[in-house]
């Protein structure tokens, strides 16, 4: 279980302070798929990087299985929005990178990486270089790299955010299948997309901005295993419509706040 316990984060840069997160508290159950969704600037990526141990909270703590996160660890693996593959290394070396980081011997790590590449549908592409692959295929390498280290927790930061709509849909469905077919890994998935969150998650944490905070936690009512035809059901469409509506409302309130603030700011000056 991942416990986020009243986490706050304040960034200070060039004398300007920015409150990114205020008193964020929620839990992610072991073996659950939880999405964090919210408008840009709500601190969802910051929160994910805190779980990864790359950023320290200003106050509060994140505990995984009762242990406080103080740095990166072999129990977690990240999937990045912009893939972040090594351009000078072939697909196999990239997929094996996490294992290499941990000092696994070459033959062993390549054997594991090959199996993972096969699982994400990239068998036969081992000798290609990232720039020879499409965005979707590059992210498959990113997912294989994360799964290769066999983490207890999978942290995904808008993994399909930079892909085109069709690729995105294919990737969502493949991830759903992969996640359900393999041992359910505890997964935290940051996204902008309601459809994505509703299809993949058990819980959706909706966050609001300025400062970033939890607005609402919603249980996704669809039973598992889900099939990709779920997206065609009226229940699914109603559910995503409700989520969208909520997010849109938040975004509008935020925009209005910004315009009032700007108006106030200009009257001050």
């Amino acid at each position: 279980m991942i416990e986020v316990k009243s986490v706050s984060k304040v960034f200070r840069r060039n004398g300007v302070t920015l409150e990114a997160l205020r008193d964020v508290t929620f839990e992610v159950g072991t073996g659950q798929f939880t999405s964090i969704i919210g408008p840009s600037g709500c601190g969802k990526t910051t929160l994910l990087k805190m779980m990864a141990g790359l950023i320290a909270p200003t106050s509060g703590a994140i505990e995984i299985e009762g242990e406080k996160v103080t740095g990166s660890g072999p129990d977690r693996a990240l999937v990045f929005q912009h893939f972040v593959l090594l351009p000078w290394a072939d697909v196999l070396t990239n997929a094996a990178f996490g294992l290499e980081a941990r000092g696994v011997a070459k033959s062993k790590r390549e054997q594991i990486a090959r199996a993972q590449l096969e699982q994400v549908g990239l068998g036969g592409f081992e000798a290609h270089y990232p720039h020879e692959l499409s965005g979707g295929m590059q992210q498959r390498v990113g997912i294989a790299r994360a799964l290769a280290v066999d983490p207890d927790t999978l942290l995904m930061d808008e993994p399909f955010g930079s892909l085109d709509a069709i690729t995105r849909q294919v990737m969502q469905r493949d991830l759903l299948k992969l996640w359900q077919e393999t041992a359910h890994k505890t997964t935290v998935f940051v996204t902008h997309s309601m459809d994505e969150a509703a299809l993949l998650s058990d819980y959706v944490v909706i966050m609001d901005t300025r400062p970033g905070r939890v607005a609402q936690i919603i249980e996704v009512p669809f039973p598992r295993p889900r099939s990709e035809t779920l997206t065609e059901s009226s229940e699914y469409r109603e559910f995503t419509a409700r989520l969208s509506h909520q997010l849109e409302k938040m975004q509008r309130v935020d925009m209005e706040r910004e315009t009032t603030q700007e108006a106030e700011g200009s009257s001050d000056g």
Binding site: S72, V84, L86, P87, W88, D90, A101, E132
Partner: protein, 269 residues
């Protein structure tokens, strides 16, 4: 249509010596031959060739020159300090560049010196070197070193600094230790800039070699230059300059080949 087709077919890469017949190469070769022709005709139009030889006279003189032991001795004496200065500049430039790129402390400590020496024309340092070290092997190697060193250093340091933060973060998230990170991220990530620095630095080292020969009391190629100049033996003087140009071209071609080899992952671009 057929002409166009053939043109396109010829533009495709070929193997080995046949690549010499590519249109772009043929145009380059034609430009060189044209230059030689202009040289020849201009030389013939002069009343005397004491100050400016014809191309033919230069070639004849070059063939004579290549058969004299003096010529080879001169090059040997010039090349030994060149090689010392060049190799040490490459090695020291990469090492110091890596240190500056990696450590903010070292960067801040060295910044004023690097800025000062980079703003200074290196030729100005030649008298300083002579006063400090005389005109022996050490002094002459030092001149070559100074010409090449900063180019390699600056390029390497910039290459290390411009490795994406996302790649560093990714390596950190997988728990890669600093030593492995250096070997697997820093070195390959900075390699394009390092190779460019080595290539440009080699060109600068050749310049340094010539400057050293002309400004210091010369023993090698510089002494031959003075001798031919004193004799108004302009064909021999031009032939000697020609050999220096060929030497520079060969040095750069070797470096370019090394660069392509080291960066093969980038593919054919």
């Amino acid at each position: 249509m057929t002409v166009l087709d053939r043109g396109e077919a010829e533009a495709t890469p070929r193997e080995g010596w046949r690549s010499l017949l590519e249109p772009s190469r043929l145009v380059g070769a034609a430009a060189v031959l044209g230059g030689f022709a202009v040289w020849e005709f201009y030389g013939r139009s002069l009343e005397t060739n004491i100050f400016f030889p014809t191309f033919g006279q230069m070639v004849v003189s070059l063939i004579d020159l290549l058969q004299t032991p003096d010529f080879w001795d001169a090059y040997r004496q010039t090349l030994v300090p060149f090689v010392y200065g060049w190799i040490s500049a490459m090695a020291a430039g990469v090492l110091v560049g890596l240190a500056i790129g990696l450590s903010q402390t070292i960067r801040q400590l060295t910044a004023p010196y690097v800025a000062f020496l980079n703003a200074l024309p290196v030729s100005v340092l030649v008298p300083v070197v002579v006063v400090a070290l005389g005109i022996g092997m050490v002094a002459r190697s030092t001149v070559v070193f100074l010409f090449a060193f900063f180019e390699v250093l600056l390029s390497t340091a910039a290459g290390v600094r411009y490795i994406g933060d996302d790649i560093r973060e990714m390596a950190r998230s997988f728990g890669m230790g600093p030593l492995r990170r250096f070997r697997r991220i820093v070195i390959p990530g900075a390699m394009p800039a390092i190779m460019a620095g080595l290539r440009i630095g080699t060109g600068r080292a050749v310049v340094g070699m010539v400057v050293m020969e002309l400004l210091l009391v010369s023993v090698g190629v510089g002494r031959l230059v003075s001798r031919f100049r004193a004799r108004f033996d302009s064909p021999a003087l031009y032939a000697l300059v020609f050999t220096l140009a060929v030497f520079g071209l060969v040095a750069l071609a070797v470096m370019r080949r090394l660069e392509v080899r080291a960066l093969r992952w980038r593919g054919e671009d």
